[in-house]
Symmetry: C2
Subunit: 369 residues, 2 copies
């Protein structure tokens, strides 16, 4: 890693959605310029960035321009093609590192990587197209798993998209039709108590810091609410931090990383398994803007710019609620009925059903002490 | 006042410095577009605004374009000419209102206005050019003021610029040379204990909210540090809020207003006099981004957009320190030695002596309870 980038340097950001937007805002706060590349003309991040390039992610000329303009390039999503990474890396620094993106954009690679670290995952088997489904099912049966199962596409899935649930072996035909020739993983269902996410940041020098894990609630596979503090025992939090550290160190990671985990059991017999790794800032860390000294967005920028990390300490109890689709119409009411709600709207014009339009963070009253 | 502006509306901002920059960032957070007009090509606010107009403040064509683009126009400074206000008002809404700008951009008008409200000011007399100086001095002598005095230009002064100190009548010749034919006020010095600022916000419907008054420390007339909480008795804070309310109501004000006051004496015999009114967000309110639920910048935007105000509650103790000129070279060290420091750099290229380049806000450790 080179020296810290001086103020006035340019952070290239691939992806122009709300994550890119909040990254660009964090860069500007630190006196860094943001150059955002995204294909949509009305990308939310364009409005807050010093420069932008409107181009498809596989446009090599555009990628080269981004790399030339930027002192480091970072990402709001993990689905960056190997070719795009090659073009970017040939001309500038890239963070997080290529390997982190390659592994996390493919569920088979990701689960193999986690297994290789000796960390727990849900029982799983790789599936290379419909013909391999029965064999995967038998493999899971051999582990004592007889359903329900989740069949998840190896690539491009997010927010519950790209997956289907199988009650048991009877659903095999339907699953085969759905899968076709795509690669996937078949997972046994985990009877978890809590789904928690550990949002951590790793600096270029290896220093790490961790945000408090929120209690996340999902609706239709999409994050609805994050609540901090969650009632998670300190021993679980400690192990979750250790897991995130193992993962980040094995990837020689730089930036913010979010690790989603399942917590099974309670008391001393708990089991913490890795569900998914996101090599980026994460929806379940949005509350850090309001409730922490330095947010996940600012710490990601600090890390990729080679700057010292800021404190991840949480100074307030808080609740983050996503506004999806037409939820956004209630924005005025939501802030009028409680002035302790800090509102974020992403500047998206069309409130399509389920689309992430904004969120609010409510600072909760301090408990008397 | 019209209905609340819908998300996606445009906030016009006259002025492109750090205040305009933080206003534009607050607008973007709320899903509003910012269009910034300022004369300097590398204005700090341009980099974070959806649109900008690079033109002189008296360029009527440019002002008209700004008014056409914007659903409301607001300001980062008070020195807006009557003609510019006329052009803007002929095509769009303006907030804060014209009268607030007219009064606060002229010390004579401002002090007369404050006197008219029955609020205390330092003993003062208007001075219309050098020939009127001796008469002003005699008038102050009649109030029992024999020096030292401050001679302050009626217009364009800020951050201690545009003023000189007179030890007494002996300095009259020097003062006359300095003043020339400009208008000014001559003030008796106030032996204040604390210089405090009340940053308040008033919504279009008259609702008001107040931030905690920080203890401000100046260096060479420029704000150096704001500390919250200040040790100011509750009765003083209450009176300071009442004064700010009187001023804002008399101006039918909309937006953030900052009132600088001098506190003389302590205990029940205290006296709170009005030093200066700034019809805008204020340097002594920068700490509100980190330490309050909703910052002064966001509340200003909410108010001028006709939105509900957010809570001004302070959730943390904090210290804001300005980085002037080459102070900014120490930015890395400042954040490395204390991770609880949130850094703001304004993206200014040239670190001229005394120029406001950035600031940091340090979240202070919570006192045990």
């Amino acid at each position: 890693m080179a020296d810290p980038l001086p103020p006035g340097s340019t952070i290239g950001i691939l992806g122009g959605g709300q994550l890119g937007r909040m990254l660009a805002q964090a860069a500007a706060k630190l006196g860094l310029r943001a150059c955002v590349m995204a294909p949509e003309r009305d990308s939310p991040a364009f409005d807050v960035a010093a420069a932008h390039i409107c181009a498809d992610y596989d446009d090599e000329g555009a990628l080269r321009r981004l790399a030339e303009e930027a002192d480091v390039v970072t990402f709001e999503f993990e689905n960056v093609t190997a070719r795009a990474l090659e073009v970017l890396e040939s001309a500038t620094r890239v963070a997080p590192p290529r390997r982190a993106l390659e592994i996390t954009q493919d569920r088979i690679a990701e689960k193999s990587f986690v297994d290789g670290l000796g960390l727990a995952t849900a029982p799983w088997a790789p599936v290379s197209g419909r013909a391999a489904l029965r064999q995967a099912l038998e493999r899971l049966a051999g582990m004592g798993e007889h359903g329900p199962f989740f069949l998840k596409m190896a690539r491009q899935g997010y927010d519950g998209k790209g997956q289907m649930r199988l009650a048991g072996a009877d659903d095999l035909g339907e699953a085969a039709d759905w899968l076709g020739e795509r690669a996937a993983v078949l997972e046994g269902a985990v009877a978890f108590e809590i789904e928690l996410s550990m949002v951590a940041v790793r600096a270029a020098d290896g220093q790490m810091a961790f945000y408090d894990p929120p209690h996340n609630t999902h609706r239709s596979g999409v994050l609805h609410e994050s609540l901090v503090p969650a009632s998670i025992p300190a021993s679980v939090v400690e192990q979750a931090q250790d897991h995130a550290r193992s993962i980040a160190e094995a990837l020689d990671y730089v930036g913010v990383i979010a690790v989603e985990m399942f917590l099974e059991g309670s008391g001393e017999g708990f089991r913490l398994s890795i569900n998914e790794i996101a090599p980026r800032v994460h929806n379940s860390g949005h509350w850090t803007i309001e409730a922490c000294t330095v947010s996940q967005f600012e710490n990601h920028i600090r890390a990729v710019a080679g700057w010292p990390l800021g404190s991840t300490r949480r100074h307030s109890d808080a609740r983050m609620v996503n506004l999806l689709g037409r939820d956004v119409d209630a924005a005025f009411t939501l802030i009028a009925e409680n002035p302790a709600r800090s509102l974020h709207l992403y500047g998206k014009r069309e409130a399509r059903p389920g689309r992430k339009m904004g969120h609010f963070v409510e600072i909760l009253p301090r408990k008397e002490c």
